[in-house]
Each structure stands twice: as C-alpha cells, then as structure tokens.
C-alpha cells in the first residue's frame, strides 16, 4: 500500500477493483464505512457481485481479464473530459517527457518486438535527453512526442463503446464509474484504488496495476490521505516476506539478485551496472555491502568483494511454475515446502501433484498433514506403490506459538509475542531454519569443495542450542556499526565500506538503539493530529505512513488543499513538517535542485506514466487472457506477446469451442487459502462446508441446472464436481454482440479436513504474468454440465 488501512477513512471515492476486501480484508471495511459516514463513496468493479459490491454505492461488472480495457477507458475519459490534475501531472510525472522517435505502437505491438525471443528491445522506448542525460520536458504537455500526447493517443482507442464491448460492463455503469471516480481529480478530493489478486493473477497482471497507477497519477491521487494505489496484501506476513526476498529475483529490500552474466561477474561490476545515477537508489552499494556484511560477517572483507562471490547466481526463472515444470521434467531432486500446499493452491494442481512424485525427497514444514504432504496417499488419488518420493513432515508451530514480527499491507512491522506453547514436537520455522543451518554448517565444516564455500562463509551467530535469539536477528536486520556494535539510526547511516551491516536496508531504523525495538511500539494515542499513529509499530521506510507524501503539496511546498495536507515546507524552520514523516529529504527546499521531485525512489524523481523498463511495454495495452472466449477487439495480438508459454502436457490449452464459458477463482471470508488453516477448524468449516460454483440464473436455465444440483466443471486440464449456486450475482456478459457466460468458484477445497470438496485448481492453467510470473488463476475457459 502506498497509504495504510486507517487512512482509507479519508477517501472521497474508493474504487475496489480486482479485490473483494469485505471478504478477504474485512478490516478495511471498518475504515471504508467510516469514509462513507463522511460522505465518501465506494465503487466495486468485479466479474460478480460480491460482499464488497453489496456495500458499494456503485457496482460495475467486468469480464475477468479486461481491467486494462476498463481502466484504459477511464484514462481516456479523464483526458477527453479534462478531469485530470494538470499541474500534478505536468510536474510530478513523466507525462511531460519527450519520447524518442523509435518508440512506436502498432496493432497491439510496441516497437522493438522480437518474435524469436518473445521480448522487446526496450532501448527503443527511451526518452530524449539533453546533453547531461536529463530528459527533455514539455510541461505544457503539448508536444506530440510527449508522454502525455502519446498516452492520449494510445487510449483514445478505449472509448466507452469499445470498452463496453470488450469488458461486458454495461456502458451506463462504466460511465457512472468514470464520472464518480474522476471527480477526485479536483484538488481537495482524494480517491483510492484498492486491488489485489483480481488484478494481478493475469498474464497482464503487472500492467493492470500500472494502469491503476496511471489513472491515480492523472487524478493527482498519490501521496495524499485517502488516495494511493493500495495493494491489499495476502498472507498475514506476505508484505514482510516479499520485503525479505520471498520473490525469486530479489535480495532483501528489493535489490535485484545478481545473475550469471558478465556484467554481474564482480561486485564492482554489479554495483556499477545496477546503481542508478540519481534518486535514492543511488545509495544501492551501501545497502548491498551492508547486506553482505550481515550475512557473511567477518568473512566479508573489502578484499574478497565482501563475499559477493558466495551469492548464488543463475539465469533461470525460479518462479513457482518454472520450479514445478523442472520438477515435472525430473530436473529437481528435492524440495522444501515451508508452509505451502500447492496440490490445492498451485495452478493446474493435478500436474503439480504429479510433479511431486518425480522428486527423490520432499520436506514439508507445516501445521497439518496437507493434500501436498500426503500427495502420495491413496486418498489423494495416487498409487503409493509407484511413488518413490521420500516425504518428511516437520511439524511447525503456529503463529500463536512463536515470537516474531509480521508486516502488514500498511508496511507496518508489528511485533507479536508468543501466546501459547507449541504442541508436541512442533518448532517455529525460525528454529527449524536455525537447526538446519547449524547442522549443515557442521557437516560441511571440514570440506573444501566449491559447494562448501558459501556454507562455511555464512556467519551464523544467533545464539546456541536450538533456539536462536530473535533479538540478535532483529538487531542485525536494523544494522549496526561493525566496529562499535552500536545500532545504526537508519538506512541513511549505512556505508559501502564494510563498516556497517544491515540485513534489510528498508527496515533499517526500526531498532535504532539498544532496547528500542520500534516494531513493539503500541502507543495508540494520536500524536500527529492526523490518523497516522506514528507511535504504533514501525512502518518502513523510516516509519513513514503515506508514501510519496511530498506530492500532497504543490511544487512550492504548500498543500494542494488544507483538507488533504500531510506535509508542507516550513520556510522559517527550513524543513518539511506535518503529521507524517516526510518521504523526502527533510531539509530539501522546494527551490533546491530536485525540490519538486516527490518520487525519490525513481531516477527522475517523478512518477512514470510511461515506464520503459517493463517486459510488456511502456503503456498498458489490453490483451486477452491465455484462454479467451473472444478475439481481441483492440488489435490482432491476442495474448500478451511477452509471456512465457509452457506447452505440451504440462499446460494444455482449451479453446472457445469446447470450453465456451469464462471462469474465475476466488476466496471467501470463511476459508483461508488452500484451506489447511480453516478446513481443519470446525466452526469455519460449517460456514462454508461445500465446494460450490456460482453460476447465473441464465446459464443454469440454459444447462438445465437447478440450484443445489451437483455439476461438473471441466477445462482442458481436468474437471471438478461441485454444487451449483445459482445466483443473481452473476450475469451473462454481452460482448461483441454475443452473450458469454461467466462462472466463478472458490479455490479453498481439498479432500482433507472437515469441509472437503474438489480442488478448483485442477482447472487452472500453467501460465503467468510477463513480469512477475504470477499464475493466471483468474481467467480461463471451461464448460459446465449437470453431474
């Protein structure tokens, strides 16, 4: 989230698109309803009418997989009707930048596309620069090669009529959404976009998010209370885990992991290549060296590149689908599954189950025996005699049985204390990792093979015995001066000479001095006058609550409006003051060099309307999902041309003729994810006790299905049996003149626990987003019949 949960109460219009927070992020509704009491409005855009839609003032359906068409239409509406925040756009975004002539867009393809590699030559999308390398700008936004004019042209194709034809959203509904949401383009108004998996789980997931960001920038909604692009994160600590390099291409703190390419051969080369000249990332070497110091301690010296060579380097794609593909092909020997249940939660789950049987060994670390750790059993539909995989199940402690922190969507790192002891032999994940690390180090102690080097180099000093000292871990994450052992006050103090360490630079500052672990702060008094509660937990970076808050003030440093003030430049004190930590150099005056550049993490200091770094293009463009019921109306390119397509048995594709119905998958309040945590709990199981499929009354009639009938849903990958939930909340979609049916189902079920049912993921395809590889769980084709 650029903003935070409590901050939602300040919004004038919340557009919930690609999320269902009433069910999946219920607490958000506490704040949204507060906003509504102040006159705020809620919009819900979702293929089906959800519990969030029930609370919305305005609902528009849209066919799954068509967010870019919808938002593209909104961008067009904003531009055509002059509803955008002109000064904000001109000053704080790259809309004024001039794009090189080499950038072109023609029939669905941007310039620089290479068929053979399914990738773009991104250099063709560069900006015109002056002799200092600074982008040329036209703040009047009139230059035909300006981002603004190119954008205007690009989205002029997204007129309301076409949008409605593609998305299936009735034109009136679409225009009502435009009218209401774009009303936040005025100064003094703020609109927020709340999104989650309905947005991201697509072959165009990243560009979906991009389209939201562009709209918000146009409306000047970023950096102010009640505004922002707010990703409603998933698992309780998924924010924390991505911060700590859960993503396969990252080191902690969103530092791109080095690859096995010549440019990354040495630390120096790597830093040279990956450090931008301007913006906050110009400090990257300090973060990287401090990280290496944290990991390798005394073994990281200036002379040995701070043990840079100990880092694994590869060029492979280590995303979920790729890993399972490797497993499927027998390329992986073993795997550790820490708290995941892919036989239920993975895409094309039938194949994922099959893949597991190609492993020699598998270690599952979990609270329960899940469908995954028992994939080899008869009940799972397997023949144990043909499976050679050796499976270990390590019992893990639940969150209540251990100490540590979780970071929520607000980026708040909140410490939690143990409530009860673990049962049986269960251990906290941290303990399991600790024991593993010490045992493995022990085993490699006397070895000198290349494989042993990184293990031996690892500095693992977190106390003795099976219980690591979490406080030592915390202190290391914050970072300290390597000589004095004193905690550093924040990432500003990190050095690239090996004198400091920090396990994750973005968290540096949460433990600024001995005895002050700020993630333990629990002061619920509202000390700031706003609702930022600066003394409740610790928000990275630097405890600021609203990111890019410099943008809440005009270029001169005065808030755009008093109601939406966060920080302002106090000329007498010569610093930025307000009710949040400035997301800016606190003493940099508006008149200083870069004093009007609020997006300090970006090289240019302004937000990107045009982003020349993503794999699939600088502007979001609508493409149909991997499996689509209709041809792309916008161009002759059907699917995002840059996605990686796995073929053969691993990823069968269904066509419209055999599978004419669009399907999507989603969650319900009552279940958690793959269901291990809730299907093993009776009170939750009784609330949603059966696998069901939501279908419209019209489709039901067509197929002779009555409510509560058992039905079979099939895709090219498999079929599932479930109850039909015939509902008014799903309506057929009118597209290109034809009627397309759309269904949806929860993906929480498996055969274990109290509430059992078929696994929806037996239907979903093995295909992912072009940038993140997140699977396209949200749009695929199927057919439906009575069981």
């Amino acid at each position: 989230m650029t903003n935070h949960w409590n901050d939602l109460q300040h919004t004038d219009v919340a557009m919930i698109i690609g999320a269902n927070p009433a069910e999946n992020h219920p607490i958000s509704f506490r704040w949204l309803l507060k906003a509504r009491e102040r006159g705020g409005k809620i919009i819900s855009v979702d293929p089906r009418f959800t519990r969030s839609s029930a609370q919305a003032d305005l609902y528009s359906p849209l066919r799954s997989g068509t967010d870019i068409a919808f938002i593209g239409g909104m961008i067009n509406y904003t531009l055509q009707n002059n509803l955008f925040h002109k000064e904000y756009v001109a000053k704080y975004t790259n809309a004024s930048f001039i794009v090189k002539k080499s950038f072109k867009f023609d029939d669905g393809l941007f310039s620089g596309f290479d068929e053979a590699t399914s990738s773009y030559d991104k250099t063709q999308w560069a900006f015109e620069t002056d002799k200092d390398g600074k982008p040329l700008r036209d703040e009047k936004l009139e230059n035909p090669r300006s981002v603004f004019q190119l954008m205007k042209k690009h989205y002029s194709r997204y007129d309301a009529e076409t949008v409605s034809t593609v998305t299936g959203s009735p034109k009136e509904d679409f225009l009502k959404v435009c009218e209401l949401f774009c009303s936040t383009g005025k100064a003094g108004k703020a609109g927020t976009i709340m999104y989650a998996m309905g947005t991201t789980q697509h072959t165009v997931g990243t560009q979906n998010v991009r389209s939201y960001a562009m709209l918000q920038l146009l409306l000047g909604n970023i950096g102010l209370p009640g505004g922002g692009v707010n990703a409603l994160r998933g698992e309780s600590n998924v924010q924390g885990s991505t911060d700590f390099a859960l993503l396969w291409g990252d080191l902690p703190g969103y530092i791109g992991a080095p690859k096995a390419i010549p440019e990354h051969a040495t630390l120096e080369a790597f830093l040279e290549k990956e450090t931008p000249k301007a913006g906050y990332w110009s400090n990257k070497p300090k973060f990287v060296v401090s990280l290496l110091k944290a990991w390798y301690g005394p073994n990281a010296t200036k002379d040995n590149e701070f043990a840079y060579q100990m880092l694994p380097k590869g060029n492979k794609n280590y995303s979920h689908i790729s890993l399972f593909n490797a497993m499927y092909k027998g390329e992986l020997e073993g795997t550790f599954l820490f708290g995941q249940n892919p036989v239920v939660g993975g895409p094309n789950a039938g194949k994922e189950k099959e893949s597991l049987s190609n492993l020699k060994w598998m270690v599952a670390v979990d609270l329960w025996e899940t469908e995954t750790s028992s994939f080899w059993q008869k009940e799972a539909g397997s023949d144990p005699s043909t499976i050679a995989t050796e499976v270990f199940l390590l019992p893990a402690s639940s969150s209540f049985e251990k100490e540590g922190s979780v970071t929520n969507s607000s980026r708040w790192m909140q410490y939690r204390w143990k409530a009860i002891d673990s049962r049986g032999e269960a251990k906290a994940d941290l303990e399991i990792i600790h024991i593993l690390a010490t045992k493995i180090k022990e085993l490699y102690k006397n070895e000198s093979t290349p494989a042993a080097q990184p293990i031996k180099a690892l500095h693992w000093e977190y106390g003795h015995g099976d219980h690591p000292d979490i406080d030592i871990v915390c202190k290391e994450i914050n970072g300290y001066d390597y000589k004095t052992g004193k905690q550093v006050p924040g990432f500003g103090a990190l050095m690239d000479d090996g004198s400091t360490c920090s396990g994750n630079w973005i968290y540096s500052g949460f433990y600024p001095e001995e005895g002050n672990n700020r993630s333990k702060s629990r002061d619920s008094k509202n000390t700031d006058g706003g609702t930022n509660f600066l003394n409740w937990s610790y928000a990275w970076p630097a405890n600021r609550r609203i990111l890019y808050n410099r943008a809440s003030a005009d270029p001169s440093g005065k808030p755009w409006s008093e109601e939406r003030a966060v920080i302002n430049w106090d000329a007498s004190q010569k610093k930025w003051v307000g009710n949040d930590i400035p997301d800016f150099v606190p003493t940099k005056a508006p008149t200083d060099e870069g004093g009007t550049n609020p997006f300090i993490m970006l090289g240019d200091g302004v937000a990107g309307m045009f982003v020349p770094t993503l794999n699939d293009g600088p502007f979001p463009e609508h493409y149909e999902p991997f499996e689509s019921p209709v041809p792309n109306v916008f161009s002759s390119v059907e699917m995002n041309p840059t996605v990686k397509v796995w073929d053969g048995d691993f990823n069968k594709k269904g066509n419209y003729k055999d599978f004419p119905i669009v399907a999507t998958t989603y969650r319900v309040s009552e279940h958690w994810q793959s269901g291990s945590m809730t299907r093993n709990q009776e009170w939750l199981s009784e609330l949603v006790a059966h696998m069901y499929v939501e279908i419209s009354e019209e489709l039901a009639k067509e197929k002779g299905i009555k409510n509560k009938d058992k039905i079979v849903v099939s895709s090219a990958r498999g079929d599932v049996t479930a109850y039909a939930m015939v509902t008014k909340r799903f309506k057929p979609y009118k597209l290109n003149g034809g009627t397309i049916h759309h269904i949806g189902m929860p993906w929480h079920f498996g055969y274990k626990g109290y509430a059992t049912g078929d696994t929806a993921n037996r239907l979903t395809p093995h295909i992912g987003d072009a940038n993140t590889m997140i699977p396209e769980y949200k749009a695929f084709l199927c057919n439906v019949r009575r069981a």
């Binding site: 009433a22 069910e23 219920p26 607490i27 509704f29 506490r30 309803l33 009418f49 519990r51 969030s52 839609s53 029930a54 609370q55 003032d57 609902y59 319900v668 309040s669 009552e670 009776e682 009170w683 939750l684 199981s685 009784e686 609330l687 949603v688 006790a689 059966h690 069901y692 409510n707 509560k708 109850y723 939930m725 015939v726 509902t727 008014k728 909340r729 109290y754 509430a755």
Partner: protein, 276 residues
Amino acid sequence: MATKYVKYVDVTKCDGCRACMVACKNWNDLPAEPQDFLGSMQSHANVTADTWNVLTFVEHENSKGNLDYLFRHSSCFHCTDAACEKVCPENAISYTDKGMVVVDQEVCVGCGYCEQNCPFDVIHLKTYKDENGKEYRKAHKCTMCTDRLDEGLQPACVTTCHTGAMEFGEKDEIISKAEKRVKEIKERYPNAQVYNPQGVGGTHTIYVLAEKPSVYGLPENPKVPTSAVLWKDYAQPIGKAMVGGVAMALAGAFVANKFFDKKNGGQEEDGGGNHE
C-alpha cells in the same frame, strides 16, 4: 427500573463476514453443525439450539431494479413482552434487569412451548442423552452473553464485529441512533426502517433494516401470538378460577344436600328420586 440495554444491528454496515457467528460459538462453546448445501452463502437455514446467530443472505432486486445483497445477523430479539417467557410452563425463562430474556436450562423441561410460540423462531430445543442413553431436551438461544454483561463486557458478537454494524448500549440512546441512521440511508434504501416491533413491546435486539422486514424473512408486525395471550391471560386465569369455583359449588351442593337430607328424614336409603 434498571436501565435497559440493547444490541444494535445496523445491517447496512454489515459486510457479511460472519465473525459474529464464530465469536458466538467460541464464547459459548457451541459445537459446529455442518449442514447440507443450501444453495446460497447462508450456512444454516435458521438459528438452532447450537447456532445462536446465523447470518442470512438475501439477493433482492430493489425498487430501482438494482441488485441488493442483504445480510442480517439473526438471533433472539429479547422481546420486552417475550412470548417464550409467557408460555413457559416451568418459568424457566425470565427477564434480566438489563432487559434480556434468558433461559434457565436447570429448570427447562424441554416442552418446546417457547419454540412454538416465539414470533421469530429463534429459540430451539437441543436433544441430550443422559448416562443411560435416555434423551432429554433443553431450550437454547442467544443469551445476549449475559455472563459477559455481568462482567462489564459486551456480547461476544458485538465485540468481534469489525465494521460497527453491531453495537451494544442503552436502549434509548440506541433507538435515537437508529432513527438517525435510517434518515441517513433513506436515499439509498427508501424502505429503510428501524425494526423494534411494538407488537412484542419492543425488543432488545434492534435493527436498522435496509428493506421491508419481509424481505429479510421477518414478520412485518410480529406480536405475541393471540393464542398465547388468550391462553395465558384469559383461559388460564379463568380456568383456575373455574376449577376453584366449580369445586366450591360442588362442595356447597354437597353440604346443602346433606342438610336437606337430614331435614327430610334421611331418605338416602330409598334408592329412588325425590319425586312423588
């Protein structure tokens, strides 16, 4: 009179999360009761002796032709004139000084009169087995977490409700709050209303409904059943008086008869009538 308290349910703020259902089971230690698939998101068709509140889900096309997805936390209303209390033959049901209607399972004999007479169908019998395998039944329903109220806490469901759809407070304050709320939402829900039915003397679970009560499956004008009023307020007292009266009359007749018999020279032996 002690201050009366109510549970306030503003359904227009409810997002259907059903935390209230779980909180109730958790606090009151109630077992799960998995049901067959009901064809909607609703888990249980109605409250039961083991499921004291149920979230109802209604798909309703409103007067503007738009779809409303209506949620309602449904539990005992804690009527001011509680039919269940009225009809209970064992006085197992009583009012607390805060206005709640509670069942004393020690006294309850499981006759089910309450179940049959509750105008809202929210009190039900649970079947138990004693150690000999013999079945017996007890009436159960929402207690308004009286045990929590006694400790100065609020009902478990109210405490857990994250949207503020439920509140607990003094009756008069809540009623004005509810009325104010209805005014606020009239534009969006023209049929919005406070549901505090006077046919049962008002209730201690008070709703702000977005639609007419019948849309939620609630009676428009619930009242203590006329039969129950006639039964308990008329038939029973008259019956008692009559039983007493007849007994007295017969006793009187007996005495009078004896008296006249003596005067007439003890004709009781003749076996015939007193005719000539």
